[in-house]
């Protein structure tokens, strides 16, 4: 018996995630199933709809598998936001991925129960890329920055910036027209949107916890998953959970540093790393964002405080010795 699975996502086919995670992952599944599972990847929303609809497309069987950011549907998956809070995440995607996957399995799988989550993860340290240098917190005042998730947006507000929410593909156009002065994104996506050519100043943070990260899920239609014959389901399972999350995280951990090196070599680009004392000031300034989140979780009967503690404990545990 053969099965064709359609995988739908929002980035173009040239993106790192498409080439270095989704394609190899699909090939691996295909090979391990002796070609009985075929995975067709549809990049750039080819099957129609807008990125916020991706999760429902998997739930409803419009696509069989989707890759999305829970941040595309703010408020719908509240618990996973814990990793997106300011100065919670580790600077390496490998650590964040293990934590998010484990928290999903332990705590908030029920929020995603209308699909089969193949894996959940988060990227490495987010970096501030801006037209003018950001050497200290005061430099953030009035800076129009594109934000990736609601929590990162709130953090930027708390720091005095003017955050603007938009999907990644719109960033180059918005920069060219002066709608934004910069964007916060991890290094991995910089070449895809040519940020190193349009923005010269890059600000990152000393050590961990880092400023922010964004979470991702690879979700599969539940009925399609349940209908797989046992041996094929075993192949999918073997390529799910921690194994898949780790494989995904590698894209950011491997591409990130090489992009950083490339940018560092460019004569006009400068990379600033904020020291520990300055980073602590930022963390203090964004603490109200965390408090507000915990309060909002309380209103939805979610133990935000406990979840945050668990997340921090796991990050400390898995992050030990990871530079």
């Amino acid at each position: 018996q053969e099965v064709t699975l359609r995988l739908h996502h929002f980035l173009p086919a040239v993106s790192n995630v498409h080439r270095h995670f989704l394609q190899p992952w699909a090939q691996k599944v295909q090979q391990e199933s002796n070609n009985r599972i075929r995975i067709q990847i549809f990049p750039a929303m080819q099957l129609g709809g807008a990125p916020p609809q991706l999760y429902d497309q998997a739930r409803d069987g419009v696509a069989d598998i989707i890759w999305t950011l829970p941040g595309n549907t703010p408020g719908r998956f509240p618990s996973i936001e814990v990793i997106e809070l300011p100065f919670v995440a580790h600077k390496r995607a490998s650590v964040n991925a293990r934590v998010v996957q484990q928290l999903h399995d332990e705590v908030f799988a029920s929020e995603f129960q209308d699909t089969r989550i193949l894996c959940a993860w988060a990227h490495d340290a987010g970096v501030i890329h801006a037209r003018r240098a950001v050497n200290r917190m005061e430099d953030m005042a009035g800076l129009k920055l594109r934000f990736p998730t609601r929590q990162a947006g709130e953090a930027l507000r708390a720091l005095g910036a003017a955050p603007i929410g938009m999907p990644i593909p719109q960033v180059p156009e918005a920069l060219a027209q002066g709608v934004i002065d910069g964007a916060v994104v991890p290094w991995e996506v910089v070449p895809a949107i040519r940020l190193h050519e349009t923005l010269r100043n890059h600000t990152q943070f000393a050590g961990s916890p880092t400023f922010y990260t964004a979470s991702f899920v690879l979700a599969m239609n539940r009925a399609k998953y349940d209908a797989l014959p046992a041996d094929l389901r075993a192949v999918v399972d073997a390529n799910s959970g921690q194994a898949a999350a780790t494989m995904a995280a590698r894209v950011w951990d491997e591409q990130g540093p090489s992009v950083e090196t490339m940018v560092r070599r460019r004569p006009n680009n400068s990379i600033v790393e904020l020291d520990e004392a300055e980073t602590r000031r930022w963390a203090t300034a964004t603490q109200p964002v965390i408090d507000a989140w915990v309060r909002a979780m309380g209103e939805r009967n979610i133990q935000g405080g406990a979840l945050l503690e668990r997340a921090r404990a796991l990050i400390a545990q898995y992050g030990q010795g990871v530079a």
Partner: protein, 155 residues
């Protein structure tokens, strides 16, 4: 009567569109003067323009504003083309009503899933999907109203 309702809805949509345009202008001015745009302008303009477009659909049905190619059927007698037009109008009405029913379901799920816009305002938008369902339904009903007139060969 229904056609006048459609015109009213389209006018309402036009006002919403003008409001969205005005909001954009204010946001541009504020950004220029203070460095801070209107909070959530991106989300508000998206919803406003979306509602405005949805509000035009019924008026489009009422004025039969659709592009069709009549070059190949010009030799047919008037009654035959009238019947063809009536058939397509019926099909169009069915499509619109099906989409209306689907969007009503979509509005319910958007509400049940607590879906909100991406951005700082994180506005719930189930109600806008619901308005869309109503607009499609009205457009479908208006197409049905056209049917008897088309069968009589009126255009």
């Amino acid at each position: 009567m229904v056609a006048r309702l459609a015109g009213g809805v389209a006018l309402l949509g036009g006002l919403v569109l003008l409001a969205a345009a005005l909001l954009t202008v204010v946001s541009v001015l504020l950004r220029w003067l203070t460095g801070q745009p209107v909070r959530g302008d991106f989300e508000l303009v998206s919803i406003g323009a979306g509602l405005a477009v949805l509000c035009t659909l019924a008026h489009g049905s009422a004025t039969r504003a659709n592009i069709l190619v009549d070059t190949f059927t010009q030799w047919l007698p008037r009654r035959a083309t009238g019947a063809l037009d009536a058939f397509w109008t019926l099909a169009w009405a069915v499509v619109l009503l099906v989409i209306a029913e689907r969007m009503a379901q979509g509005a319910y799920e958007t509400w049940a899933n607590n879906m909100r816009t991406i951005g700082l305002l994180a506005l719930p938008f189930w109600w806008a999907v619901g308005v869309g369902a109503l607009c499609f339904a009205l457009a479908g009903v208006i197409s049905l109203v056209w049917l008897p007139r088309l069968f009589r060969g009126e255009r």
